[in-house]
Amino acid sequence: MTQNTSVTDEPPLLEVKDLKVEFDTYGGSVQAVRGVSFSVEEGKTLAIVGESGCGKSVTVQTLMGLVPMPPGRLKSGTATLRGRNILGTSQIDGQDFRGSEIGMIFQDPMTSLNPTMTIGRQIAEPLEVHRGWSHKKAFSRAIELLEMARIPEAEQRAKQYPFEFSGGMLQRAMIAMAIACEPAILIADEPTTALDVTIQAQVLDLMGDLQQDHGTAIILITHDLGVVARMADEVAVMYAGQIVERGSVDDIFYRSAHPYTVGLRAAMPSNDPSARRSLIPIEGSPPDLFSPPTGCAYAARCPYAMKICSTSEPPPFVVGQDHFGKCWLHHEEVAGGWEKILSGAPTLLTGAKMARASSPLAENKS
């Protein structure tokens, strides 16, 4: 991740630097991603958090070459997988890294699978393409994968079509498909948003178990801090196309370094009955990305905004081990800035604690 921890020469599994993506529309160009950098290490889970339209999906879809260009446009940035560039190409050494090195699952499993092809065939496809397996061999592997994804009667199920599956089963089939070629990274773009709460847990557990078994790194895109608490090792909080805070999951929940993170936490329902409180919405709406503000993008909604916030963009202030926040309150001239930030959400600590405690997975990892 940050240079402070890169003690070995070996490059991180995935490293993204200064990614900027724009979209040309009739109204002008939308700056959807405005300089995003992060890295992912093997076997770890990075959660990218933020509200709708903050650019988190565009970021990962750009990496995967799924953003149609035009209207999308890559303005700057690099992305390397094990030191090799993947940006602007879908090929590494003449082979498509998508599906083989990086697997991806999407928000809505009901529409993300081809309605006229059997589930088994769709899972077998990456194996046929990337490994050159025969129809038959790939299909029998697809059945095994479905079993791994805890789909009962996998053999019959493999011959069925998506409309015969329930949403949760489809998402598990999607996971089976994404990990068919045992990729090093699994990108999950809001994998549980479209699912029932009970099924969400099943899908998250499946992802967690597969990660343990295969050592897959996961990039988890979500706006659900509960999911973050349960799954993530590292968290990047995105706002208006930028990462405004980056740190370990504990940093984010216990030592938030950005008022937006605090706001997000305050807006999250708690499952701790002792911490009864009303949800606190973040007033206002995100800035217009046609013409992003010159200063801090969050300034207009920030309760602690200072004059400088509207004139110049805050740099990432390092506040701890692998932990930074892009907020002027960390400047040396501001006395007690961090305390101010943390004062926003006192009761949330218990909520986050509970969420973590309820997940055996999270305990194992931390």
Binding site: S37, A299, I308
Partner: protein, 484 residues
Amino acid sequence: MADQPASVSSLPDPALQMGAFESMQSELRVQTLTRPSLSYWQDAWQRLKANKRAILSLYIIIAMLLFTVFGPLVWRVDPAEQDLLQVSSAPGAERSAIIVAPYSAWDALEAPQIADAQDADAAAPASVPVNITDLQLAETATTQQVRLEWQPMAGAADYAVYRNLVEPTGPGTFGLPLGTTGSKETRRYEDLLDLRPGPLYYSVVAMDALGHELPQSKTLRVNVANAITLDEAADRQLIKPGETRELGSQVNFALHPMGTDYLGRDMLALLMQGARVSLFIGIAAPMLFVLFGIVYGSMAGFIGGRTDQLMMRFADFVVALPFLLFMILFKIAFGIGPGESGIIPLIVAMVVLLWPATARLVRGQILQVREEAYVNAARLLGAKTGYLVLRHMIPNTMGVILVTLTFAIPSAIFTEAFLSFIGMGVAAPTASWGSMSNDGIKSMVTHPHELFFPALMISITVLAFNLLGDGLRDALDAKMRSRE
């Protein structure tokens, strides 16, 4: 960020000013949304305006309606009047005519020519021309007559005369055989056959005694001028009453900007009349069947249950009828009495056969809207049925209905044209664009304008309505509004 970690203490920032870290005034923070809120129709109209093709189509349709309604006021020519002087004349055809004396037989044809011929035969072989010479006009060529004369050649027993519109390139390309002179003595020919203004190529071919054509021939290019007699010109009011004009002076024929048809009727006036018929059928029939469809469909939708099932099953049957065959069948069944144009039976047949599509659509919309959460919400808030219909049902079905109507118009125009084309549409003498096309196709090769103009009118109108329909569909589709 990650590559350039900032340390809290060593931050040189030029932007830092005195008081930079003071708290900001709250009024600075509030962001306003600037997009004004628009009603459904305002929004739809704005979207339509942004669609250049749709707006252009709208202008074309308006122009077409103006042409139909006000055209006959500006161009006051009776579409039924026949201009026999200019039958099937193309637009831009020569209009000036020479005033000529009434036709009289060509005396020279009867005059003895033997002396000349004997002279030619008697002359020394060296002086006898080996080909026809001096092929020329005996007088000015007009549409009344073309008179040719030539010098004989040795060995010719007879002469054949041909006429062509294009320049002949050799034997076999002389064109229309007009006739033979019948003897070697006659070396004049008079052509009276269906003459039209413009260039013509006359060829005279020598023939032997057995009636075989000899290789010798001569071709003359003749520019035929329009001709009109003084009496006729006076009849047709081409010259003022009482005015005397000399023979050989010029007059102008009546103007037909788009030419005339095979009966000499003015194409522009006919097109206006045809527009009235085609557009009336094209607009009235869809309006009626859409209206019927709305009533039928909303009734089925509102009542629901078994009635709905039955009504819709009946609609299914009507849809299954082979449309054009039944149009024809109904046309026959309703019958066309003498002197009737056949417009009403056509419209009735269309209404009887075409309502189910709209009915299905409206029923579907009503059922859908009725179940929408916002209608339920309104109902829970105590909205009366009248309010629901006015505020929710109509705005949410009007768009779809309007689009259906816009697409139904071109298909009705097409249907009329199609039926008229196969002779089952409007009855003569009423002209529609379809029946004009039907007439025009017969003389398509020689007078393409008679097919081209009505076909063009149909195509432009249908095109405009189709493009407008596309634009309306995009503009009125409420679901599209959230996209973008």
